[in-house]
């Protein structure tokens, strides 16, 4: 049981390290998935808009950690 728990935590840890950073990433992905399914975004620019938001989350997440002195 302990090993299953360790494995589950290890797999979750592959994707999530900082909760807020993971939440922001999930929000961006979720918003784009919703926009794509409701045709609220032009498919020709959708991919680049997705990249711009993810890059903003990345830089914002690093700056937040720098200001709060945490990894």
């Amino acid at each position: 049981m302990q090993m299953l728990r360790t494995i589950a935590l290890e797999i979750a840890g592959l994707f999530v390290e900082d909760r807020w950073f993971a939440l922001a990433t999930a929000l961006v992905l979720g918003a784009f998935a919703l926009a794509a399914t409701t045709h609220a975004i032009d498919p020709r620019i959708g991919g680049y808009a997705l990249f711009a938001w993810l890059a903003a989350v990345l830089v914002g997440g690093v700056l937040y950690a720098a200001r709060s002195n945490g990894g």
């Binding site: 797999i11 991919g47 830089v59 690093v62 950690a65 720098a66």
Partner: protein, 243 residues
């Protein structure tokens, strides 16, 4: 083919280095028999998992597979890239495989050695191989499944394993010489770019000249990372002066 094999090779390299560090620590302190037994048992367990669940991937619709795996890669890649950026900016200490090795050797030596089968040594090696191996399987699936490139991605991961094992036994020491942060930054950029590309494809977004957009995404993430590191260094320095 190289588009799947190379990211799988680089990402798996990092995981194999971590597993080998622990297996070497077990071998040095508890004996090579328990290290080898744990390693072989772990590898066999992983092989059974792959054989049992691997074929099911072919039955999932491509769009859904691309979106799910793309999202997985984005989480995985951005997490690594963020960590590498924090290390470059001096906010988080650089990863030191040497220190991990020493710590692991110390804790294993501290454990009492019982008679008969060495459960501690074998179990430690088994855990390390299974946990890091699961990460390699996720990487191979994430990199290879969407583009029908599971075999090149698997070959990339196997090549990484062979390189690390040969290098590890040749050096007979933890692989602190591998510049892990640089490797993590490169892999983070590649996985983030692939993840963004596939997630977009899964949602039906049209990429300019298809795969050529991957290069644009790689360049974009490199640029974002460089900008982030510069600003993070400044923010960190300002905070330290103010403190």
């Amino acid at each position: 083919m190289l588009a799947a094999a190379l990211p799988a090779f680089l990402a798996s390299l990092v995981e194999f280095v971590e597993a080998l560090t622990i297996v070497l620590a077990v071998g040095t302190t508890r004996g090579w028999r328990s290290a080898a037994t744990g390693t072989v048992a772990g590898a066999a367990f992983l092989a059974i998992l792959v054989l049992a669940f691997g074929p099911a991937l072919g039955r999932v619709p491509l769009g859904i597979l691309q979106a799910v795996v793309g999202a997985m890669l984005v989480f995985f890649g951005l997490r690594w890239l963020r960590k590498a950026m924090l290390r470059y900016a001096g906010i988080v200490a650089l990863h030191d495989e040497g220190k991990i090795y020493e710590r692991r050797v110390g804790s294993l030596r501290a454990g009492a050695e019982g008679p008969g089968f060495d459960w501690i040594g074998t179990g430690t090696a088994f855990n390390a191989v299974v946990l890091e191996g699961l990460e390699v399987i996720f990487i191979v699936i994430a990199v290879g499944a969407t583009a029908g490139q599971l075999i090149p991605a698997s070959l990339g991961a196997v090549a990484a394993g062979v390189v690390v094992v040969v290098a590890g036994f040749a050096l007979r020491a933890p692989l602190a010489r591998v510049p892990e942060n640089s490797l993590k930054a490169i892999v983070g950029v590649m996985l983030s770019a692939f993840g963004t590309f596939w997630f977009g494809e899964g949602l039906g977004f049209a990429w300019w000249r298809d795969d050529v957009s991957l290069l644009v995404l790689v360049a974009g993430y490199v640029l974002a990372a460089m900008i982030g590191v510069v600003f993070a260094r400044r923010a960190h320095a300002t905070r330290r002066v103010a403190a």
